[in-house]
């Protein structure tokens, strides 16, 4: 080659600086410490681990074979469970859309309305569905009505939060164009923004319905209707062969609802 002087390029390249590498190891050490601390603080009875496999085998033996004769009895409560989830989700959707517009920074009227919207989100989300169930059983008495209310109360925050985020991320261009036509604020919402967040609204609704089917199956534990009461009763009676039937039935429903949810979400565009 003709060129006499060859430029030297570096042969060593590292993604992280030594400082970054040290920081990473520090984080790993911190997590290890936190885990060790948790284990020591929880005072776990390690002796129970010794015969855990024996206990598990014993339980399995008592559950087998499933008592299929019990199945006809739980079909109605199983359907009720799905109804609770469906109605609860439907009510939640209706309330979540206006709350989402309140809680999104770009559509809320002022700081106060935003705080109200966010407050509803936090209140709804920070309480577990079963706890909501306990509260609503106290209000409506035991039964599916309390279950529906519990599912709605928990789902409103979940749906509204995700829809509010979608509203905040909505494309500004079409919104500007709709504003420029002389449309009112609410017209901008329903024509410019709502179509943009529709895939998120539908997707999260179906996903939440799927979660609600699962959560409704334990609402019966607190008397809020559905299959849970049968599961609870069977466990209390040590009727393990019945418990297995109930569990298998719930499993079948959950698998089906997840399939429906996945199928719908795949088709939204």
């Amino acid at each position: 080659m003709s060129s006499a002087v060859q430029k030297r390029y570096p042969e060593v390249w590292r993604k992280h600086t030594p400082r970054e590498t040290a920081a990473r190891w520090l984080w790993i050490a911190a997590v290890a410490f936190a885990s060790a601390w948790s284990v020591s603080a929880l005072d776990i009875e390690w002796a129970f681990f010794k015969d855990a496999h024996v206990q598990a085998a014993d339980l399995a033996a008592r559950m087998w074979p499933p008592r299929w004769a019990y199945l006809p009895k739980i079909v109605a409560p199983l359907v009720e469970t799905i109804h609770i989830a469906t109605l609860g989700t439907a009510i939640a959707v209706v309330f979540s859309v206006p709350i989402a517009f309140l809680a999104a920074r770009n559509t809320t009227a002022n700081g106060f309305t935003w705080a109200v919207g966010r407050g509803i989100l936090v209140a709804s989300r920070s309480v577990n569905t079963v706890i909501w169930g306990l509260l609503f059983v106290a209000i409506f008495g035991p039964g599916p009505l309390a279950g529906i209310a519990a599912v709605s109360a928990r789902s409103v925050g979940f749906l509204a939060k995700l829809v509010a985020e979608a509203i905040e991320e909505a494309d500004r261009g079409p919104i500007e164009a709709i504003e420029a036509t002389g449309a009112s604020t609410f017209q901008v919402y329903v024509v410019g923004i709502l179509p943009q967040v529709m895939p998120v609204l539908i997707g999260t609704t179906v996903y939440r319905w799927d979660i609600n089917v699962r959560e409704s199956s334990v609402l019966g534990f607190v008397g809020a209707g559905g299959i849970g009461i049968y599961l609870y009763a069977s466990i209390n009676q040590f009727a393990w062969q019945q418990v297995l039937v109930v569990l298998l039935a719930i499993l079948a429903v959950v698998v089906a609802s997840e399939a429906v949810s996945a199928w719908v979400r795949e088709r939204i565009s």
Partner: protein, 276 residues
């Protein structure tokens, strides 16, 4: 060609549009517009040219107050838009159609829904929510679809169209307002050169048919010369040139954009005109 359906109502003898001392200072302190004044006293196509950041986009957004001007007046048919309250501003916006660089269609809605959204200022909330527009609006929308060359695509979703088709819907939406003024923000910057010329030709033809003045922000000097009657050159938020598009000499372009060899830009247009 579809006949122009209705001539825009232009009462009074005053100018169609008067901009007086318009200024905009953004919160960061950027002075985007600095005392811009001009008159539009007849329906003509006006190209607004200038470097990026010269204030073109701010200028047209101050006219319909998508951007709030800091000072100055915008008189549309005698009404000062700058002083209007929310409700009156909405009424004023109905009279101003706007066309965008990125088309700004609502992607998940159909072509028809996008066209009819130009009528939002004239229909109630529930009618717009349920998409129940007056029969006359629907008929006008189909006629408009025909006029912009998209017959049969009314049920297509906006995001299924090509760039040129999307801009045609954008133009149709703006004209569905029967505007007294068209604001056009870089209508061709997202399009290929051939489509860009077709779109400019369509905007020009529609503005002439309806005797509607159009203010067109445009980067492409050759397109500005080819399709505008008049050119306003902005430089650092001020009007540096205002005159017929034939007056765009290398000296004027240097004044607007800074020193550069402009002979190619101008000659290219001459050749195209000769070949047309």
């Amino acid at each position: 060609m579809a006949a122009a359906r209705e001539a825009p109502a232009q009462g009074g003898a005053g100018p169609l549009l008067a901009i007086e001392g318009l200024a905009k200072v953004y919160p960061g302190g950027t002075r985007a517009l600095d005392g811009v004044s001009f008159l539009v006293d007849r329906p003509e196509v006006i190209a607004v040219i200038g470097s990026s950041g010269a204030g073109k986009s701010t200028l047209i957004r101050c006219i319909n107050r998508l951007v709030e001007p800091t000072a100055g007046r915008v008189l549309l048919g005698g009404t000062d838009i700058v002083g209007l309250g929310t409700k009156d501003l909405r009424q004023a916006r109905r009279r101003i159609g706007m066309i965008f660089q990125e088309f700004n269609l609502v992607d998940r809605l159909t072509v028809m829904e996008n066209l009819l959204s130009g009528r939002l200022g004239s229909v109630g909330f529930f009618a717009s929510w349920l998409r129940r527009y007056p029969p006359q609006d629907v008929a006008n929308a189909f006629a408009m679809l025909d006029r912009v060359g998209l017959s049969g695509l009314h049920d297509s979703r906006a995001d299924a169209l090509s760039g040129g088709q999307r801009q045609r819907v954008g133009i149709g939406r703006a004209l569905m307002q029967n505007p007294d003024l068209l604001l056009v923000d870089e209508p061709t910057a997202s399009l290929d050169p051939k489509t860009a010329r077709q779109i400019m030709r369509l905007i020009r033809a529609l503005a002439e048919e309806r005797a509607t003045p159009a203010l067109v922000n445009i980067h492409d000097v050759a397109l500005a010369q080819g399709f505008a009657d008049r050119v306003i050159g902005l430089k650092a938020g001020k009007v540096a040139f205002d005159g017929p598009s034939t007056g765009l000499t290398p000296e004027v372009l240097t004044e607007i954009y800074g020193a550069e060899d402009w002979s190619q830009t101008i000659r290219r247009e001459d050749e195209e005109e000769a070949g047309a």
